[in-house]
Amino acid sequence: MFNKILIANRGEIAVRIIRACKELGIATVAIFSEADRDALHVQMADEAVCVGASPSKDSYLNMHNILSAVLLTKADAVHPGFGFLSENDTFVAMCEDCNIKFIGPSADAISAMGNKANARTLMKSAGVPTIPGSDGTVDCVEEAVEFANSYGYPVLLKASAGGGGKGIRLCENENELRESYAAAKTEARLAFSNDAIYMEKVIRNARHIEVQIIADEHGNIIHLGERECSMQLRNQKVLEEAPSIGMNPELRAQLGEIAILAARACDYKNAGTVEFLMDEDKRFYFMEMNTRIQVEHPITEMITGFDIVKEQISIARGNRLSIRQEDVQLNGHSIECRINATTAGLIDYLFLPAGGLGIRVDSGIYAGYTVPTFYDSMLAKVISHGESREEAIAKMNRALGELVISGIKTNIDFQLQILESENFLQGEYYTTTLAQMIESQEIKP
């Protein structure tokens, strides 16, 4: 096994990875920015190295300092978590150059899937069904208008170098498209240093369903079922559940096969997620592939009983997958609620809902912790697991009712409203549903 792993991340995912390492007997190195000196992950790790000033670009994205920290602490592997450098093929190449094991896929797989326009093209040629969209990038506004005219409005302008819901603009008609095109390019250039744009037709009443896949370095790939992620606001996931209500075993097997096909097409290794949109006719279209562990991985872990992070480490070590596809069993139902801070500040009191079967909280906060303003606002993930969807919902309601984070404002109440909404309870919701519920004032954010 690895002797020491450096976790190139922060917050709850860093804590998650450190915990997995401890259980495996692997020493841990945390990295932190000036703002994170007192963070939980820094205190939990065996060693910690400051890698720069508070802004992400100076610290968590500072490849030079992070690599130096790996070498000086004599760590033999790096786990990048999600976000930050997890999909940065330059960083992976640097690790490869230095014989440092990057716990994730290769630089080539990341760059193949990281460029969203190219990924679509690759998937199409591999026979994976894709969302009707442009062939590669759309380089001028006239091309954009031409595409929209042939596929019909509404259309989405998407940044090729984007992902994770960022850099997306919806255009309902030609006027909007003409107005948005230049702005979309500028935004993309500023956010991702790459102004390439591709387009997709908007699929009405779509469900966002993603499949967790995991591959070892010996060519074995399996899927661990799907996750329903349609409860979104502004392309950011709010609540996830597994399995998806709209699925049945046949569809699941089909979708799993397609996901594995996608992973093979880019020679994928380690854990990844293939995201699809499902339309009203239960047809699936490839949307993008996330070449890293995801925020919502815990719900898959709950229904399969399988520790994805530990498996990531094992695969990186060179071991074969510890289970086969036929061993994968989905038991019960799991829900995750993302608890975000809506104001920054000091958490002066914290009560976490523990106790009872099937409640899990993954977080990086503690009483006395000051939430910094430099990074994303996620404080914790509350995960419930029950034998049925109803039971999982009941447990989540109970858990959120007990959760107290005092000193800052959070979205706990927002989540509770979602959980008791008719759409959610019926399991009838699409990617646009949450926004609609807010607009109709059924839910107050």
Binding site: A53, N62, H64
Partner: protein
């Protein structure tokens, strides 16, 4: 005495629990009072009276001198921190003497030490003139980003 200084003092008085305050400096006398507090008027000075402060009268007459709040004067500590994660070397090579010692005067641009990261050496230069008051790390130590290396007295 400048208009800005008068305004600053007025603002300070407003926030403090004092009700009035007067000062004599350079032959100029200043009295400020909060509402309700009595102010003895004095004759005007030749130069301009600040326009916006109705309760301020500036004159030449000497009055009692109230204590001025003395701002804490920083001992001008100037910390030079490491910009990178690396190894600290106090001399250009093992045979040479150290670049600087405690008590040594340095000028802006002088090399204080070398930081090595991934086989690349980067010198750390003094960004001000001053005296090396403290060296926080020892030769060949691993340094983190933002870690203080030197304290200079400017």
């Amino acid at each position: 005495m400048k208009y800005e200084e008068v305004r600053e003092l007025t603002e300070w008085l407003e926030k403090s629990s004092f009700t009035e305050y007067s000062l004599s400096i350079d032959g100029v006398h200043l009295s400020i009072g909060k509402q309700g507090a009595p102010i003895a008027p004095h004759s005007q000075l030749e130069h301009q009276q600040p326009k916006v402060l109705p309760s301020v009268a500036v004159s030449r007459a000497a009055e009692e001198i109230a204590p001025l709040p003395i701002p804490e004067v920083d001992t001008q500590a100037h910390i030079i921190s490491s910009p990178i994660v690396g190894t600290y070397y106090d001399s250009p090579n093992p045979e040479s003497p150290a670049f600087v010692k405690v008590g040594q005067r340095v000028s802006k641009g002088d090399t204080l030490c070398i930081l090595e990261a991934m086989k690349l050496m980067s010198p750390v230069l003094a960004d001000v003139d001053g005296v090396v008051a403290e060296i926080f790390v020892s030769n060949e130590a691993m340094v983190e980003a933002c870690m203080p290396l030197f304290r200079l007295e400017v």
